[in-house]
Symmetry: C2
Subunit: 367 residues, 2 copies
């Protein structure tokens, strides 16, 4: 049995994630492994929590990184807040809202799904009928990675809380690329992924649980269905008690620490501005090529540009040539958008002028 | 807010995991990230599966790495095999058997716990009364990391199958250090962790599901409670369909690939022999210091040496000095063994003569 040496190709990652990783973050991944109860590792956890709180704009003590990918972040927030029979409203306008319905039903939630067409966003009016039924939890995706739509949350949060529900938010693609105001917007539970605008390899899911969410967790009548994701147990490891729960992914944490440190150095405002500027440059360039956006005007994400594949263009062929000739990865469409849109990521370290220039030049050659 | 640079100390990792990591594996972690549907990554998945099948000694198609740590491997095997109301027997002679009870109950299993004193192992006779009740699944830990006891499985497997149950095995600490014969011993579902004898950083959980386990999964009446760990969905990504499920932890996979490749190069028999030889050397050296083993004679794991802390010795002080003066990490006791035993790991790259020599010399200075 011949096992070839590890030799991954060099890519420019402009898909829906993972995004380009800065060499500093890759180097961090290779630092010597230490124990998950080593005093230095405990310090590192504190530093990660500090930087994640800054990025989520929250003082929530229960802000940490789940030891799995972003999808496990979704599961972690849902299974902690939902007890069997609880009612949950889930807003669905793309793949990831749909996934949240599945996750919530598996947790025993009585789910009311409300829908908007793909590429559009929700207004308070869309939620009103469902909120009248007084659900316990409302789940919504802030940055729908399948459509590139940017969901405003402030008014919806007010309506959700007026109805007495908890607000659960998917910030997988938004965190680090656009403002996410957990405390100001009163988000009760939120999750993200390391591999999007944080520009760390995939493998960790930053989450934050607010006071009302933790109250719900601590007053549960049933145990959280997942031992691995039980936030009341994780709190004993991430909190001051430092009780062993599972063996933390040390080197992944090194990567996330360094990636967060780079955002901290750049400054959050500068980081958001960079994402926006590169999005505008890309949008102008694509417009010259006759390529338009799939998401509603005024609600387009800077970091995830879902665009219509031009008439007569072979989706697979162009993406294949981008990858094989130029080493550029962009994403294809998911679900209802399969074969109809491309998803161009400008996330984290990938959100830079040279990437935009390169992709536009490559598309000009291929189209 | 000052965030210090990442600068982890150099450690010799001789605790219960993570174990010492070879520089080749650390370098692999830092290779450029690529997409989770990149043709090269799909090849890499094939290579990982091939090497994991070799190590598990199985032809099971559903052999792969769960995108989370070893504890999630436990949860993955349990939640896929258990439907609410199913009966499960769990053998408990340490912390990890106890954890399996908790995980199984959260999955809705009707659990019968059978117990042996810590440090001892189970015989078929211990299981007979519980097997008479015809449980659906029997769970057992092969290498109890909290006690250092090595559980023989062949006869127990026969009894379990005679009773019509599926056998679920924890191989977190055993895989790569002692023979694990999935097909020959008819293990139906098994899980491990990347950070023990595989000598990769923590973050991935190798698992394997046999034909009877997959039949049970595919004939379930209810959905698996965890979307993230649902093996029928994971099969579509790890199998030939390559359907996107979640974003795989690319750089962790690089690490595991390289770690498995090193075992493949060394040869499994040589690798097992190395673990055993170093264990014997350590045991002889400890014996000279008057230190004895916590696990039953004849059932002591080579890679996890749980030993009684000598009378009058200050546990925390000695472990602290080992770490701070000599950079050596060993583990303290868990649960019933807290303050009573040390857990000395000789796992993977840590299972080498120089480590044994160093630890014995350090203990001689401190005791």
């Amino acid at each position: 049995m011949a096992i070839p040496a590890l030799n991954p190709p060099l890519r420019t990652l402009m898909g829906p994630g993972p995004s380009d990783i800065h060499p500093r973050v890759l180097e961090a991944m290779a630092k010597p492994t230490i124990g998950h109860l080593d005093p230095y590792y405990l310090q590192l956890m504190d530093g990660m929590q500090q930087m994640l709180r800054q990025l989520f704009r929250t003082t929530n003590p229960m802000t940490m990184a789940i030891s799995a990918t972003g999808s496990a972040g979704m599961e972690a927030t849902v299974v902690n807040l939902i007890e069997p029979g609880d009612s949950m409203v889930v807003c669905v306008n793309g793949v990831f809202g749909g996934r949240m319905v599945d996750v919530a039903e598996r947790a025993g939630a009585d789910v009311t799904k409300i829908e908007r067409p793909w590429g559009e966003v929700f207004t308070v009016d869309d939620l009103v009928p469902a909120l009248e039924k007084k659900p316990q939890v409302v789940g919504i995706v802030m940055a729908e990675t399948s459509t590139g739509a940017s969901q405003p949350l402030e008014e919806i949060s007010r309506a959700v809380h007026d109805a007495g529900a908890l607000l659960l938010v998917d910030a997988v693609t938004s965190l680090g690329g656009i403002p996410v105001e957990v405390d100001q917007w009163r988000i009760d539970a939120i999750y993200s992924g390391s591999q999007k605008c944080l520009s760390c390899p995939p493998g960790l899911a930053p989450v934050s649980f607010g006071p009302a969410a933790m109250e719900k967790v601590l007053s549960r009548k049933t145990k959280v269905q997942s031992w691995y994701l039980d936030v009341s147990m994780l709190a004993n490891y991430w909190g001051t008690d430092r009780v062993y729960h599972h063996t933390a992914p040390i080197n992944m944490s090194y990567g996330l620490y360094e990636a967060l440190r780079m955002i901290h150095e750049e400054g959050m405002e500068a980081c958001f501005a960079r994402h926006l500027a590169n999005h505008e440059m890309l949008k102008a360039g694509l417009s010259e090529l006759g390529i338009s956006y799939a998401a509603q005007e005024g609600h387009q994400l800077p970091m995830l540009n879902a665009v219509h594949i031009p008439e007569g263009v072979d989706d697979a062929k162009v993406r294949g040539e981008l990858l094989n000739r130029f080493g550029i990865e962009i994403g294809g469409g998911l679900g209802a958008f399969k074969g109809k849109v491309w998803r161009i990521g400008l996330m984290g370290h990938a959100a830079r002028e040279t990437n935009v220039m390169l992709l536009l030049a490559a598309l000009r050659k291929l189209l």
